[in-house]
Amino acid sequence: MNRIILHSDLNNFYASVECFYDPKLRNCPVAVCGSQSTRHGIVLAKNRIAKEYGVKSGEAVWEARSRCPGLVVVRPNYMRYLRFSMMVRKIYENYTNLIEAFGIDENWLDVTESTMLFGSGEKIADELRKRIEYELGITASVGVSFNKIFAKLGSDMKKPDATTVISPENYKEKIWGLPAGDMIYVGPSTRRKLADIGISTIGELACAPPRFLEKHFGQWGRTLWMFANGYDETPVTRLDFQPGIKGVGNSLTTPRDLCGDNDVKILTYVLADSVAERLRRHHLKGRTVQIYIRSGDLTFIERQGKLPYYCHTSSEIAEKALEIFAASWDWSKTIRTLGIRVTNVVMDNECGQLSLFDDERRLRREQLESSIDRIRSRFGHYSVQRAVLLKGNGLSASPVEENASEI
């Protein structure tokens, strides 16, 4: 028996929520953009009218304004989007527990079993769309198919507020003529490589010999061939499935470029503080510290190093990060974004190798930082700070706190 998979995509999600809350915006071109003053000024989402002017997600605000002079720019309200996302999910939960999120505004739903209760996949999709619009005032496009890849393609085919069914009977006629790049997991690089071997549509990909694809793309070639033929059998992850955390990281694009070791030191402590606090909150310890450096010309490098033991204290993470930084950056360019990530994580109650010499010092550091967590939870993040951050020159804002205050 074929599965019945839906893929639901909330149309122009951030912009739709903003237009819903402010009726005056509904007939204007609207773009939701990050703050220009903190150099996060790119288009995160745009409404249909702005799209008609050629405004694209990811471009800078000034570029969008040059395409569309009357563009209304609004700041994002992440808490509101999260609330909407959760309410949409509540609607899905009325139909199935097999829901897999793909970002904040897209979900796959396996409704194979639910059709006995609620009718065909198409009927469920239509009902979902009506409920989302009636209860939340925004629209969704839903693709209905027998696998996740085609369901996702379906939701992209007709927008806004539409259901597209791609069945085993009609998939060749409906999607084989589409460009290969329309298929999920075929990015610009794969699309170029496919074009180099004369494959430009999904149909051509499906009809190519799998061995030929394997020769050019390795194992991935066969996987793409299976996707194009509708043989994808990846399950929709269960609602209650909690994937293990593989790492905890934070990065920050600063209001001005970092131009010296002192700037990097300040930001490293800010990021390490935030990462360590989150590790402790999740009862995790990590052993590998990775840093991410993006320069003013937007090129980036990633480097990593190993700690001698698992830890979740900011001082140790920061010291390691600074050590990796010193070995990897020659200051030929200024830095626009810095990130720290701790991977190779275990639960903090797991047994670990003890050290004969510095365990007491480590224990004291851990106790000190747990106390700081408690003080911050009672009196706010900025109630206790490292002295180094007091001369932060606009660099010492906590990424977590500042994102929250943007909301």
Binding site: F20, Y21, D22, P23, R83, Y134, E135, L136, G137
Partner: protein, 78 residues
């Protein structure tokens, strides 16, 4: 249509429901809600808000009252 937040006096029932009893308008006038005839989650496109929508009968006329998170609002014609 405008979204107008209002004060509401409500009853909290034993089974956890909230039943609005009196709406206090911006100018201080109070309106008794005679009956709540429907409760469902709904959006107000006119006012730009969503939440639990109560269809209320006040002096023989039907009006909608929304509870959005922890605030009550109506869509006013002003």
């Amino acid at each position: 249509m405008a979204k107008v937040f209002v004060e509401v006096i409500a009853k909290f029932t034993k089974d956890g429901r909230k039943v609005p009893l009196i709406i206090k308008w911006e100018d201080g006038r109070c309106f008794d809600i005679d009956k709540v005839t429907d409760v469902r989650r709904a959006a107000s496109l006119k006012a730009g808000g969503q939440g639990i929508r109560y269809r209320c009968r006040i002096n023989g006329r039907e009006t909608y009252l929304w509870l959005e998170e922890d605030k009550w609002f109506v869509d006013s014609k002003k």
